[in-house]
């Protein structure tokens, strides 16, 4: 292979072409994570005049006793679980609808892109307005339907605030799941359904025995992406509730941001970043494992 000068030159060009991208990625993704690992071993806050002082695993020990951290982790888990489950159900419904031929399908597809394309922070404000306790349209509609007879404070009460956030998040990200599932649906040959129908299967049976198994990779991919995004959800919470009322919607991300920006506790913030990162990586690794397994299953069946 030494003699393969052309190949060698090509490889050199290859490294040259990819180097800028790798450099930027390393700067923006790897450095901050690595830096957080390092910084998490120091105490650097107002108590140390913002100078880093080595403190070993003190920050992690502190985390164990930090009720606010565990509460935020719980909130994040609740938010993530509920919103992703709902998004999956809605996303599947939308995908099935968009997979049908009907007049105006192009319009429906465009409409479905709108929530995905708009800035979360801005539309969070729109949802806060919709859930407004005095003039909000949700309260008004519930009045008119006779379901309530006095105004409900949606964002001022823990459970309802969480509910409102979930609704806004489902609105924002269902289209993404729907589009990925739609791509999966379109790749399933209609022959399979016809053969199954000739075998006497009902549409519901077909859905369970053909659609769901063949869609497994897309479902897992959508779940993977959504899990990572949802676990780090920030914009929506920041503009809609700011983590309130009384920390009942405070997610890990909001807590990290407050620790660094408001309390200027950089060392502890770095420890929070590190732990969140590790939790995320573990979850992603598990998902990736199932993903590779499902892909093998599918190809094995064919």
């Amino acid at each position: 292979m030494e003699t393969d000068t052309i190949r060698r030159r090509e490889k050199q060009t290859g490294w040259l072409l990819i180097a800028p991208a790798l450099l930027i990625l390393a700067f923006v993704f790897l450095y901050p994570i690595g830096r957080a690992f390092w910084l998490s071993l120091f105490t650097q806050n107002l108590g140390t005049q913002l100078e880093p002082v080595f403190s070993g695993f003190n920050n992690y020990a502190r985390m164990f006793g930090d009720g606010r951290f565990w509460y935020s982790l719980w909130n994040t888990s609740v938010f993530t679980t509920i919103s992703i489950s709902l998004e999956l159900v809605f996303g599947m419904t939308f995908a099935l609808v968009l997979n049908q031929a009907f007049w105006g399908r192009g319009f429906a597809r465009t409409a479905a892109l709108i929530p995905w394309a708009l800035p979360t922070a801005v539309m969070g404000l729109a949802w806060a307005w919709i859930f407004n306790d005095q003039y909000g349209v949700v309260n008004d509609l519930l009045f008119r339907l006779g379901i309530i007879n006095e105004a409900i404070t949606w964002l001022g009460e823990p459970t309802r605030a969480m509910f409102s956030l979930v609704v806004a998040d489902v609105w924002k990200t269902t289209p993404f799941i729907a589009l990925i599932l739609l791509a999966g649906l379109q790749s399933i040959s209609s022959d399979l359904y016809e053969a199954h129908a000739i075998d006497g299967a009902t549409p519901i049976q077909s859905f369970r025995q053909i659609t769901l198994p063949l869609l497994a990779p897309q479902i897992l991919i959508a779940l993977l992406f959504r899990f990572a995004q949802s676990f780090g959800v920030f914009d929506l919470i920041q503009v809609m509730t700011g983590g309130g009322p009384a920390g009942s919607t405070e997610m890990v991300s909001i807590y990290i941001y407050a620790t660094v920006r408001r309390y200027l506790d950089f060392g502890y913030g770095a420890a929070l970043v590190t732990v969140t990162f590790l939790l995320l990586i573990i979850a992603v690794a598990i998902a990736a494992f199932f993903l590779s397994k499902s892909r093998i299953n599918i190809s094995g069946e064919r």
Binding site: K11, L17, I18, F27, F94, I114, F143, T174
Partner: protein, 286 residues
């Protein structure tokens, strides 16, 4: 004998009803919040605060004041966002396309590892990055400098750009590149003069996605840019609410929302097909 066709007809109708219920729900669900902001932005303050809620305002209840109140400052924010998004998109394509080409064709060692890293990195929530980036921004003195946004925006869009373009490059017939080599192009000339011109549709697709993501980014813009005149749309709009302590100015927020998202809505309307392609290519092919 007549029951057969009737039940058949019934089942057909039932399916249609279900489908159209789904379609109407989908469209309403997706558009209602935005339409509500449109309506709010056009109502006078009195109409906004009127109970029960006004859904069909009369002519006295309609106004453009909320738009006018935003003034020239808002135009500035729009330009800020446009500049940052556009620049970072261009850099992202300029840096991402060669990288994608390397990963598609040039067979460097460690290709699979690089690909896996690119994929994993695209899953990192930005909140895990801002602390380290904040230090870098301070170190290089980039606070209140657009570079502190352009570089991270380039980076967050790189994984998708690389994955989508790579899959496009792989689909190009290899003969063309062989032919170009025999014609005497070197790798760089070939990339610029043969490969990229044939990839323009893919470049447009990924460019649109990158532009949208950059336009919408919140946490970096919130952290690294503190000077009012430099702010981007998402920050500027979210700060309108904080301006008055007593009453949140819903009208101006709604008007700002409409103006601030108009470029995105236009992009979606024009490039609907391409955007869908880009999203699915990025997620599924990776």
């Amino acid at each position: 004998m007549t029951t057969m066709p009737t039940t058949f007809l019934k089942s057909l109708n039932w399916k249609k009803v279900l489908l159209w219920t789904g379609v109407i729900f989908l469209v309403l669900f997706c558009l209602a919040p935005l339409l509500w902001q449109v309506l709010t932005s056009l109502k006078t303050n009195d109409a906004i605060a009127k109970l029960p809620t006004v859904y069909f305002p009369n002519s006295q209840q309609l106004t453009l004041d909320h738009y006018l109140i935003l003034g020239g400052k808002f135009l500035r924010y729009m330009l800020n966002s446009a500049f940052v998004s556009f620049t970072s998109t261009l850099i992202c394509l300029a840096v991402g396309a060669p990288a994608a080409y390397t990963l598609a064709r040039l067979k460097i060692p460690g290709e699979q590892i690089i690909l896996a890293c690119v994929l994993v990195v695209s899953l990192f929530p930005y909140v895990l990055l801002f602390l380290g980036l904040l230090e870098l921004v301070k170190f290089f003195g980039l606070g209140n400098n657009y570079l502190s946004l352009i570089i991270p925006y380039t980076a967050i869009n790189l994984p998708l750009t690389i994955l989508v373009l790579r899959s496009f490059f792989q689909q190009l017939p290899k003969d063309l590149e062989d032919s170009a080599r025999i014609d005497g192009y070197n790798t760089l000339q070939m990339l610029l003069q043969i490969v990229l011109p044939m990839t323009i549709p893919a470049l447009v697709t990924t460019g649109i996605l990158a532009f949208i993501f950059a336009w919408n980014e919140f946490i970096f813009a919130l952290t690294f840019i503190t000077r009012d005149t430099l702010q981007t749309i998402p920050i500027a709009i979210s700060k309108i609410g904080g301006a008055s302590a007593f009453e949140i100015p819903y009208g101006p927020i709604a008007a700002a929302t409409i103006l601030g998202t108009l470029p995105l809505v236009i992009l979606v309307l024009i490039f609907q097909q391409r955007i869908v392609q880009g999203i699915t290519a990025g997620a599924v092919k990776g």
